[in-house]
Each structure stands twice: as structure tokens, then as C-alpha cells.
Symmetry: C2
Subunit: 407 residues, 2 copies
């Protein structure tokens, strides 16, 4: 198997991008990655586009075919990969395999979603709910936020954890997002509180008190409140991949994809032995660690899939950083902050960087690329040499982990 390197990246601003449509976002991130990798004059063999709902949200399909023409790289092979909110991670695996097999020498991977123009959030929630099991789950009206609420309730009870510890994860991720000029929310939660005080909405002694206010932070899926859940965002991110042997022909400091893994779990969540364990993550991260010859304690920085803050806690355990039931507590104790034992989501994560579904898995790797090159500005993790991601599809039924290292 050929080794695969990342030689350049692209990342649009995430957020409510009113003047961009889906194709604009795909093109912007792609062209930035092509420029960043000095491959403007090279022949691309293939393009893999991760996007969950181009047709349902944007009324277009064939987006990969459209992209290669728009950015001027026909006749490159072009494919669109769907795997719910893990579509970006799946596109990376597809691109990785294309290079690793030798079928492609130069591959573009891009993930994107355009969602904020949809005026009824219920349309998005019901669209995302098509990922649940039609007869065992969806017919009863449960949505993904509903499942996250049930998971949080079970986790907090089983491990004697506190809801405020999940708030600590949100606080950390907003603090990190405030340092990321591409994040959807570049504001700490303290800043939200101070702004509410200024507007005469109330007074609170501290951020936790603010987050317990039903008016300022309403319950969405009991016990989870608004600030425990990621926003709806627009955005795109891209990577240029090549055979690691040729990477230095294009750039001085390529980053190696040293491990990659994907695994599935039961479609129906209640069929799992323990709903607080993400078996798919345990398996896929184990595959990635094995391929890279690394263990969790070797990792310097991680980008995990906190579509709901409870997920970051659980993922930080199943990816091997903390013992079962200790993830939320570790976050509460500050171990996952940028200067902590294992920094998680220095980008701001899905909570603050935002979560344009198909873009997220790619954006996670873009963040690690910058972290490993020491280009993460004010949110830089010191001496970051190895990073891992978790990109979560369905409700944990399809998860991807990517490990990157300095070459």
C-alpha cells in the first residue's frame, strides 16, 4: 500500500454564508487547497466530494461532476460520497484508497454543506432523521437530538456525571472558537452572557448560571440545552492528497495520513449492549492506531465530533484518552483544553467552528494539518506532532478516524 500525504488544504469561513451557494463553497475550498498545494498546473486524477444532502437542501445532484468542470480539472474522475454527517470522513477514505492503490497520483477531497438558507429548521431535522431506522426509530418520532438527549441522560446517571460538565465542554469549545477566524461562532459563552446582561436580559454570577437559565439557554432535548448542541452552518473544507514519496515535490512540509479506519455499529441504537459506548469508534480508531503503529497516549491533539457535547465526552473515552465514564469529568477538570493533557477541538469543534455536515470530517483534518505545521495561530497546541479525528455518522452507526503525523 502506498503511503498517502496531505500537501495542501482549503477551508472556507463556516457560518451563515448568505452570498454563497453549495457549488461556490465547494469551489472556494477546492481552489484554496489546489493553490495551497502548488498544484494549479498539475493533472488531478480524481475528486471525492463528501456532502450529505445536496439534493434535499440545494436541489442539485451530480455535484462532483459539476465541480471538476467548474474548477477546470476535467477529465478527473469525480464521485460524491454520502455517509450522513460523516460524509467528509468517507470522502477522505475514498481519496486515501485512490492514492494508496496507485489508481490516482493526485486527488482532491472536499466536503461541504449549505444549510442556513433553509427557513424551517424542522426540514433539516427531519432530513437528518432519515438516518435513523425507519420502523424501529423514526416512526416513533425520534430525531438525532432526541437520541443525544437519551444518551446524555443515561451517561450522567450511569457514571454519576454532571450536566454542568457537558457545559464545560461547550465553554471550552466556544473559548477555542473565539481564537479561530474561520469559526461560525468566534465568541466565548462568557461573551454571550455579557452581551445578554448589557441588553438587560438578566444578570448571572457566572457562565454556568447563565447556561442554566431557561430563557437564555432553553432545553432542546432534555437534559440538553441549546448550548449543548452544535449550530446549523454553511461551509466547505478540502485536502489535496498524493503519494507520500512525491509529497515534497509539491510542498516543504507535507503531513502524512499514517492511519485511517472506518467501522459500523447496529442501525437501531437500542440494540447496542451499552448505548454509552461507541463500539464503531473503538473499532475504527483501533484500526487507525494499528495502521499508524501508535497508541492513544501518543496523540498530541484531537478533533472529535461534538454535534452534541455529550458526544465529545463519550468519544474521548472510546478513542482511548480516558477510562469509561471519565470523559466528561476530564473536560470539567480542564484536561482537554488547548494547554491540557490532551487538547480536544482546538478549532472550536462542531459546537463553535460549526457543523456544515459534509464539511466537518474534512475540516477536522484541515485543523490537524495546521496544528501539526504550527500554523494554528492563537489556538496552537504546543509541539503537536500527531493528531486523530472522530467523524460520526448516523447516530454512531458509522464512524471514521484519521491519524495524521508530521513527515
Amino acid at each position: 500500500m502506498k503511503r498517502v500525504a496531505i500537501i495542501g488544504v482549503g477551508h472556507t469561513k463556516f457560518g451563515k454564508l448568505e452570498d454563497k451557494n453549495l457549488m461556490d463553497l465547494l469551489c472556494d475550498a477546492s481552489l484554496e487547497a489546489i493553490h495551497d498545494s502548488n498544484t494549479e498546473n498539475e493533472k488531478f486524477d480524481s475528486v471525492y466530494v463528501g456532502c450529505m444532502s445536496a439534493h434535499a437542501f440545494n436541489n442539485i445532484s451530480g455535484i462532483a461532476s459539476a465541480l471538476v468542470d467548474k474548477i477546470g480539472i476535467i477529465p478527473a474522475a469525480a464521485n460524491h460520497i454520502k455517509n450522513g454527517p460523516a460524509s467528509g470522513g468517507s470522502a477522505i477514505i475514498a481519496g486515501f484508497q485512490s492514492i494508496a492503490s496507485g489508481l490516482s497520483d493526485l486527488t482532491l477531497v472536499v466536503g461541504a454543506e449549505k444549510m442556513t438558507h433553509i427557513s424551517t429548521p424542522g426540514y433539516i431535522t427531519s432530513n437528518v432523521a432519515t438516518l435513523t431506522h425507519p420502523e424501529a426509530e423514526r416512526i416513533h418520532g425520534i430525531s438525532l437530538p432526541g437520541m443525544a438527549g437519551l444518551l446524555a441522560r443515561t451517561y450522567l446517571k450511569k457514571y454519576n456525571a454532571k450536566l454542568s460538565w457537558l457545559s464545560d465542554i461547550a465553554i471550552k469549545n466556544h473559548d477555542n472558537g473565539a481564537l479561530n477566524s474561520l469559526a461560525h461562532f468566534q465568541r466565548s459563552i462568557k461573551n454571550f452572557m455579557e452581551s445578554a446582561i448589557k441588553k438587560g436580559k438578566g444578570t448571572w454570577d457566572n457562565v454556568h448560571e447563565f447556561l442554566e437559565d431557561d430563557d437564555r439557554n432553553p432545553i432542546i432535548a432534555d437534559p440538553l440545552r441549546l448550548f449543548h448542541i452544535c449550530p446549523i452552518s454553511d461551509g466547505a473544507a478540502a485536502l489535496v492528497l498524493c503519494d507520500a514519496k512525491k509529497a515534497k515535490n509539491y510542498c516543504d512540509r507535507p503531513i502524512l495520513i499514517s492511519g485511517i479506519g472506518q467501522a459500523t455499529d447496529t442501525h437501531i441504537v437500542y440494540e447496542r449492549e451499552d448505548i454509552t459506548t461507541l463500539r464503531a469508534l473503538k473499532i475504527c480508531s483501533q484500526k487507525a492506531y494499528q495502521m499508524a503503529g501508535l497508541k492513544p497516549s501518543d496523540i498530541d491533539v484531537a478533533e472529535l465530533h461534538d454535534a452534541f457535547e455529550i458526544l465529545e465526552a463519550v468519544e474521548s473515552e472510546d478513542i482511548g484518552f480516558f477510562a469509561k465514564g471519565e470523559g466528561a469529568k476530564a473536560a470539567h477538570e480542564g484536561l482537554t483544553q488547548i494547554d491540557g493533557q490532551i487538547p480536544i477541538n482546538p478549532s472550536g469543534g462542531l459546537k463553535a467552528r460549526g457543523h456544515p455536515l459534509g464539511a466537518t470530517g474534512v475540516a477536522q483534518v484541515v485543523e490537524l494539518f495546521w496544528q501539526l505545521r504550527g500554523e494554528a495561530e492563537k489556538r496552537q497546541v504546543q509541539d503537536a506532532e500527531k493528531g486523530i479525528t472522530c467523524n460520526f455518522g448516523g447516530f454512531g452507526n458509522n464512524i471514521i478516524s484519521v491519524i495524521v503525523e508530521k513527515m
Copy 2:
């Protein structure tokens, strides 16, 4: 690059399958392929599902994740690949790369579509039209049948060909489909004519006269009539792939994927230098021939993408069997019949086997697998040892060719 073999296949009946939903079809074809390859007790590493419109037609997504659970092969990696009517071919390429890279040892590729339950064909046509360019094409109301009509008109004029030669392709494909117990239409057009005569709908001296009757064969996209266009079908097809070195551990007569290629062309059809030339097919088939070390004259049997019969004519040229402008004439002269110089679509093609969009690219390879193993029953091409496919996405903007050979 590891060589990749097909060790078993599955293929549901194609047609109007009222008692099957999309997941049923995916499961049926997958389980048949798993049984056929003697891999019931093996560990699958990955699954690639080709399907164009699961969400729009069937209101489900995450179909690859759902499938691996339903057929009992979690934690296999599962991904859904979209490339319009070439989604099946794209799933094959993804599966091929997974084995060729060494990331998977055993991979399931399955394509499917469930369409006939949709009561308004216009919904399907407008859905498929999302593949066209939104500003340059779709906004003006053109659909894919409309484009095929324009292509046919240009081709017939430019090459001094006759519409009746396109009818000859339909006649051949219906004759072949009549020999295929899995085809949507297992009836010759002569049989349609005789049935109409019996019902007192008219009398005609021969099949061509019947096909020129505005009542029996109405114009759909001038000059193309009903019988120049494939039906709307349900169905699924599947392949089990493994490292060619290990293929004989599973079955006696594996079939090698000796060449594979994919290429794109302009999104906007009028931007092509010559709309009667499928540049993407020229490039992708050339890649496949090169990988296999073969030339067009080495091929014994082909499965081409006759969503419209004009496409089979053009494809038979651009894939290298006939000179430009000679494809329709060659069909008229019988060169593409089962006992002809180069048999095309012995399965009945999209016209008679049917065209469940995502299934087609996979079904083409299943047909070649049977042809090369001498298992194609009454439609068997004598001494078939090498075959090629053309799976056509968008309106020719994304095409895949697969070459298979006896091992």
C-alpha cells in the same frame, strides 16, 4: 496495486417489483452475492452502495450503514456512492480501490434503485434533471430525454444515419431481454406488435412499421419514441470482490477486473466540441484498455449504457468498436447481435433488462461475469473471454468503464 477479482454475484429480477422496498432489494442482491461467493462465514471489510436517489425516491438515507446491519456484517466500513445513473460503476471503482490498496481483503459492491412506486413519472424526470447544469440547462426546461433527442437529431443528420437503425438497436435489445429471466421486459418488440394486433389495435406488416405508429410508439423527445428509451425499473445487483491472489480460496472460476477507468467531461453539454462524441468514454475506456493491456478488438462482449438507444450507437464508437458515425449502421447490419462481430447488451441492456439507476453499472458487470463463466443461458455469447462496460452518468459528463477477463 493488488489485482482484484470478482468471486460471486447477485442480481434481483428487474422490473416493477411491488412487494420490495429499496432496502429489500439491496439485501436480496447482497445476500445472493455473499452466498454465490461462499463468503457467508467470512469477515467483510467494506461495502460500497451505488444508488442515485434513495432520499428523494425512498425517503431514507444512510443506506450503506443500514445495509451492513441488516445483512449482518457490521463492523464493515460502509459508504454510499452517488454518481447519477453511473452510481453503480462508481461503487465498483470505490470497491476496487479498497481491495487494490490493501485496505480491504473482502468487499461487497451493490447497486440498487426503487422507482416504480412513484406515481408521477415527472417527479423522476425532474429529479434526474438535477444532474444538468442549473443555469445553462435546467432553467430552460431541458431534461435528459430532451438532450438525448437533440443528440439523436444531430447524429442522424451528421452521419446520414436513419432513425430505423436506432429502432434496430431496440429490437435487438428486446430480443436479448426475451432470453433473460431477470429482465424487466422479457418480450421481443415483435411480441408487443402481435399482442397489439390481437387486441385489435391495428395491423402492421413488420416491426419497423409498428415502431413508426404514433399511437403504439409515441414520440417522447423528437425524434425519439417510447421504444427508443429505457423504462423506469426497480432492481439491485451485487458483486463480491477480493484480492485476486486469494480468489480461488472462495470459488473455482473467479473473474478478474483487469482494467477500470473513469473520466469526466464538461457539465454543460453545448460546451463540448462535438456533442456526438463522448470524450469521457474515450478517455475512461482508454484507461481501462491500458490497464488491462488490451485493445477494442480483443473484447468479446460489451454491456453499454443504452438509457436511450442513440447512446448505444455513439458508445459503440467511442469505446472503440466502430469508426465515428458507424455505430448505428453496424447495429442495423447485425454486427452487435449475440452472434455478431461484437455482441452488445446480450442482457437486453437498459432498454429491456431495465434501468434501476444505481443498479445498472453493477448489473452490467454481473452480466459479463455470467457471460465469461458460460452461465448466460440462452443469451450466451460463444467463447466470451473478455468483456467491457460503459456506465454513463449525467449526460455523458461522468463515465466509467470496467474490463473483466477470465483468470
